[in-house]
Amino acid sequence: MPSLLFEIGCEELPARACESAAAQLPDLVRTHVGPGEPQVFVGPRRIAFLLHDLVEREEDRVERRRGPSEQVAFDEQGEPTQAAEGFARSNGMAVSDLERADGFLWATQRIEGRPTVDVLPEALAALVRGLNFPKTMRWDASGLRFPRPIRWLCAKLDEATVPVSLDGLTASGASSGHRYTSPEAEIRSAGEYVETLRGAGVEPDQEVRRAEILRALEDVGEWSDPRNVLSEVVHLVERPLVLTGRYDERFLELPLRVIETVMQSHQRYFPLGPGRFAFVANGGNPELIVRGNENVLGGRLDDASFSYARDVALGIEDMAARLDSVRFHAKAGSFADKAERLQGLCDRLGGGDPSREAARLAKADQVSTMVHEFAELEGFMGGVYARLAGAPEAVAAAIEEHYLPDAAGGPLPATAAGRVLSAADKIDNLTVAFAVGERPTGSRDPYGLRRAAIGLCRLAVEGGLEIELPRLVQQALGDLTRQGAEVTDNPADVHEFVLERLEGLLDVPVEYVRAARAAQVGELGAVAHLAQALAAEAESDTFERAYTAYDRANRLAGKADGAAPALDPKLASDEAEVALLETLGAVAPRIEAAVAAREFGEALAAASELGPPVDRFFDEVLVMAEDEAVRANRLRLLLDVRDAVDLLGDLSQIPR
């Protein structure tokens, strides 16, 4: 059975486009070409796949088409009418070959499957058009869009060339080898694709390239890759050549992270310990290439040293003094205003002196040359400059860490002051955006507020920081107003916005988080713990009883009119009614105290005690009594039961 090779030859593709194509190809191949597991190859100049064991031709199939009804098809003499003749003709058949069934004429035909080689041109063109990329371009008049120009197509079914045609390009057996050393590479048969390209200076298999790079890096020493440039580098070269270079040790006076950032963000180098680096070339003369790269890195480090020296000469205090002339937000003042708000928030969060001092200096590095050059070093540089100015380590560390967590699942600040400052910064960003009418909408979230909200949740849940969000937002709002910000909206929604993020973060079904969010608990970690407690007890009798009490009381009294404004024990006459009233009297304060103490298991146990008396009440007592006062009192009793359990949240959110 034949093998198919299809290669889309491109000008140098972005690494992300390579990854994306590799992810899409298996399904597209199955949709357009046929079953099986294609071997996918992606790299800077090609997106390709090999599929083995294709069928030689499509399967034959039977098509049965319905024609006119027998009444219409035959006249009174039983002779075929024009309608019958027409239907037969349109199917290339004689009327006598048509079948009569169920009152209709039918044309049944066996359609012979076409040879695969005839089917493929259309299928492969559809496959190319089926690839989707977030960022595409035009490059000629054809109107075809792709991440970079497509320059050739190569398609072979064993030895046969498949004439795929796509907006003026027609596939041939010609691929291309290494851009500079072997521009031509004729693929004689699909099965020889990989070997032919290897002979032409190209390793088409991205996993082989990755493994080769890794092996070579292991050979050259203690390499590191803090920003994960490897996944990009794999798609920047067709024939990896790992080389090493040196840089002048005088640059080691720069913080190591600065050196690594210079190496990785601009150059995609791999740090190899003091004074050395590794990089991956795409072939060429190693001696020339190493010298060139050493010069480039030297220049970049020289530039960074220049910026660093300027910053150090200025010092963090002078940087902080300039913050009043740097706008944080057009409607919310300067970074100096922000620093003042952060100090207040740190106090309110119980952070003490280190976090307050860190808050004062946290944004100073926004005026540094280094952060201007390398935005990703914000915070880190502040920490460095604080240490150089003799700040206590707790202060410097808090400044350094306060943008954490900066990635999904990334680490939280390691120090207590760092966690407080991190929370303060996020609360301030959220409050400002909401207060000036720039809350995120749809996919628009230019200030990364969803990420900030998730970070805040994690600081509460994993970091154990107590975050009374409504009060903190009010405090920041008060400061904003006093500072003259253009407050147009009430930022109280920040609380809801942050709580919504808890739903995706906690490892419990969302209904429990929604139930817990409705509880009158203002502290972020407490909401999380409540959701977890509810979920942990979900299958227990305790939960069932508490739920029953809540649910039955709520169903009957929740929507009824006429409940008394307050419970009057003297109106309770029935035994079951008195029993419920007494249980409620004993249990309600316990629920309240336990919720306040965040002992949610305890609160749930107390609430569950309401279950049996509620059941009995419904069995024995007629709520809708004739006597209006009695009825109103019974409705009130049920509402009080509901409200007592309601301290644990809105249990009706939880499906039973």
Partner: protein
Amino acid sequence: MSAPTYQEMILRLERFWADYGCVIQQPYHTEVGAGTFNPATFLRCLGPEPWRSAYVEPSLRPSDGRYGENPYRFQQFWQYQVVLKPAPDDVLDVYFESLKALGIDPVDHDVRLVEDDWEGPTLGAWGLGWEVWIDGLEVTQFTYFQQLGGLDLDLITAEIVYGTERLAMYLQDKTSAFDLEWAPGVTWGDVYRENERQWSVYNFELADVALLTRRFEEDERECGRLLEHDLPIPAYDLVLKCSHTFNLLDSRGAISVTERASYIARVRALARRVAIAYLEGERAVAAL
């Protein structure tokens, strides 16, 4: 082949692209941040008429000045700009040939195309392409224009921008642009270092913010007035003046982050109106 001087390198580029069929033009007379702003690119790459041109462009970026103290950063540097409209299918091969003309054989070096999506917000322009690295050094920006003046393009132009100082540093194996041999016995530093110092003082310390703010508004108004008279070519010069004035205000630290966005939007709006007027004018001429 021994390393060419800076001027020899530029002469070789001129020769190469002249032989390829480009109209060799001269630098524009109004301050621009990049060769893309030259009307030989911005205006000529609009519309359906084929066009090939190449020229040196002094590129002014006031906030990149370093008082002549930093060997890699300048408030004025020199681009060699090539536009090929429409982009030929073998445009990359032609570009690699131009490197050979300078004495760089890609077989010996690590010549790489690294993704770089270009955007010129004040011109409402963007394109996709690459930085070209030679042995790790970025020497060229290569872009397929997709939009200019916020308008989709009839023909896709390939724009090749050589950073001449970088390229010369590479060819002459120098680690400082000031040490480049411009002509025999004369360095780049001899020609431009003092220039860098004085302009940095002006750009960062002395440029009159009130005057510049006023000038921006006057030029913006004048641009609109010229557009009313169907004169998109002179109107475009006023777009360039606004853009440069904005850059100067920025280097004086006189523009906040949000004001920045609004200034950019104002220049972009003018660029768009100019582009539309220019296209209408071209169509009117074609109809004669």
